[in-house]
Assembly symmetry: C2
Homo-oligomer: 195 residues x 2
């Protein structure tokens, strides 16, 4: 696994594929990120705190989830290898987060503070462009999720997820898949058994 040798390898690939940048600048860019490995189920952000960091996942999986007063969890977002993720409303607006962040697998991540992240936008002319494109993609993904939630029933949403992200379903415990789909664990279990 490359990340054990150079934790910045994947981020370097990501950035240099997205915008023209020379090696020296790329190094300066990446060094703004710090490196961390996490344990299974480690909490990276408590609900109620202000999200200080955005993460880039080298390996593993982060989960952004909410916990209601009855203890019911709802997974808002899942972040796997090669992707950025955080509790976005909190990170962006620097207000207390409704959601917590947890690494559901032992993970290898880079992270950068909100201040440094925004400083990159000023320092690297191409970065605002790359970030904007990335926002467009994330926004489209969230629109598609809204569509599925308002137009599909539980079974259709599960089938859609099987088509679009079969690896997620294999990889994650089904209680988390159920949370993500907005249905109960029992309903998901029944969907799976009844064809």
């Amino acid at each position: 696994m490359p990340s054990t040798q150079n934790p910045y390898h994947q981020l370097q690939q990501f950035i240099s594929a997205a915008m023209p940048i020379d090696d020296e600048q790329l190094d300066i860019f990446c060094k703004k990120f710090r490196h961390k490995t996490t344990k299974r189920n480690e909490i990276l952000l408590q609900a109620g705190d202000i999200a200080p960091y955005i993460y880039f996942v080298n390996s593993g999986c982060l989960r952004v989830f909410m916990l209601d007063v009855n203890g019911k969890e709802s997974t808002r977002f899942l972040v796997t290898e090669g992707r950025f993720g955080t509790a976005f409303p909190s990170f962006n607006l620097q207000e207390p987060s409704l959601a917590a962040i947890q690494s559901i697998e032992p993970s290898d991540v880079l992270y950068i503070s909100q201040h440094d992240f925004h400083a990159l936008l000023d320092t690297f002319p191409g970065w605002e462009h790359v970030y904007r494109i990335s926002l467009e993609k994330d926004y489209i993904a969230s629109i598609k999720r809204i569509e599925s939630l308002i137009t599909m029933d539980a079974k259709q949403r599960y089938q859609l997820l099987m088509e679009t992200s079969p690896t997620l379903i294999q990889r994650l415990p089904s209680k988390i898949i159920a949370d993500y789909l907005g249905i109960s664990q029992e309903t998901l279990s029944r969907l799976k058994s009844k064809r």
Copy 2:
């Protein structure tokens, strides 16, 4: 109503408040947009077509909605005065749209092609920044909508909408509010009567 005198007035306000720009440049910017008034229920984009335009609403209200095989409509997005809106995935990726766009009130709008819109990003240095900030806001709004859909029941979602957008509820037919909340018209009617 200012828009009857100068249809660009509101867009000028919007842009000059968001980025430093002199009057001449502002004029060049705004003239990339064309002006149109719509009739009630006029369809601006058919589902299946590629969204050519993004709209800026001077007055009235646009609705981005999906229609399933059984004729059930689901409202994905509502766009009111002073806001940009389109069938975003289609406009951005230039692929056929799952959603249609309709002006549910007689409306006064500006519109610009995808090509011209992106050309503005190159021509006006500040515009990429303003657009990025706007994307962040829209993305956050969509995350909050996902949260409400996966954590709240119909009554809670309706109460939330009453708190955050009371004017929308007054202004739009309740069948559209119901579509937007992802519930049936009858369920919404019952929620309203039962306190």
